[in-house]
């Protein structure tokens, strides 16, 4: 861990570990999905894992980038990013819903497993982190 930017190192660690976990969930979900619903199951698991990776990583990135800026900009980036992300998520869900190449339950459970898994990684990383009290 770098001594120069402990918060940056924390977010880097969280993003790398989260990506590895989501890749593993995509692999297992893809296999189970393929057994349950053939090609549609495989596609759904990969899309679910990719959605979770993008939307969970964007939160960490927004805090990591915003943390280097003044306080007002920090809240603007984190909260503005949150709203844009959720609107984007609703649009993606609207487009995917009812598509032929999607198996709903496989996509949903892959997404939920990925989100819960990354939450666990985030929590452990923050609890173990040694952050300085001062701000640069």
């Amino acid at each position: 861990m770098s001594n120069q930017d402990p918060a940056g190192a924390l977010f880097k660690q969280v993003l790398i570990r989260g990506s590895i976990l989501i890749a593993a969930i995509a692999l297992i979900g893809g296999l189970v999905g393929y057994l349950v619903a053939a090609a549609a199951g495989l596609t759904s698991a990969l899309i679910g894992a990719a959605l979770a990776l993008v939307f969970v990583s964007l939160t960490a990135l927004s805090v990591a980038i915003g943390g280097r800026l003044p306080l007002g900009a920090f809240f603007g980036i984190v909260l503005g990013g949150w709203i844009l992300k959720l609107v984007g998520f609703v649009l993606v869900i609207g487009m995917l819903k009812g598509a032929d190449f999607i198996n709903g339950p496989v996509l949903f459970f892959t997404l939920v497993a990925s989100i819960l898994g990354t939450l666990a990684i985030d929590s452990v990383a923050v609890l173990k982190a040694r952050l300085p009290l001062g701000r640069d």
Binding site: A7, V63, L71, F89, I115, P132, D136
Partner: protein, 76 residues
């Protein structure tokens, strides 16, 4: 006596569910951010630590929003 329908609601009830899925996390994130601002105002030297803790709070409430908004895939 005949029953007269004086008011009728039509549409998909799931839409109300999506709304509720947005309201809960919205209130949650609002509380997390307001308390973080309050805490930073009280102790500005803790800002970096509070920002990271705030991210964890936002991540949890966001998970609720994402799960809630993805429910059409299983309840449709």
């Amino acid at each position: 006596m005949d029953v007269t329908n004086i008011a009728e609601l039509t549409g998909n009830l799931a839409v109300v569910g999506y709304g509720l899925a947005a309201v809960g996390p919205g209130v949650g994130v609002g509380l997390v951010v307001s308390k973080t601002i309050e805490s930073i105002a009280r102790q500005p030297e803790l800002a970096a630590k509070l920002q990271v803790t705030m991210w964890l709070g936002i991540a949890f409430t966001e998970a609720l929003a994402l799960i809630g908004l993805a429910t059409p895939f299983i309840f449709a």
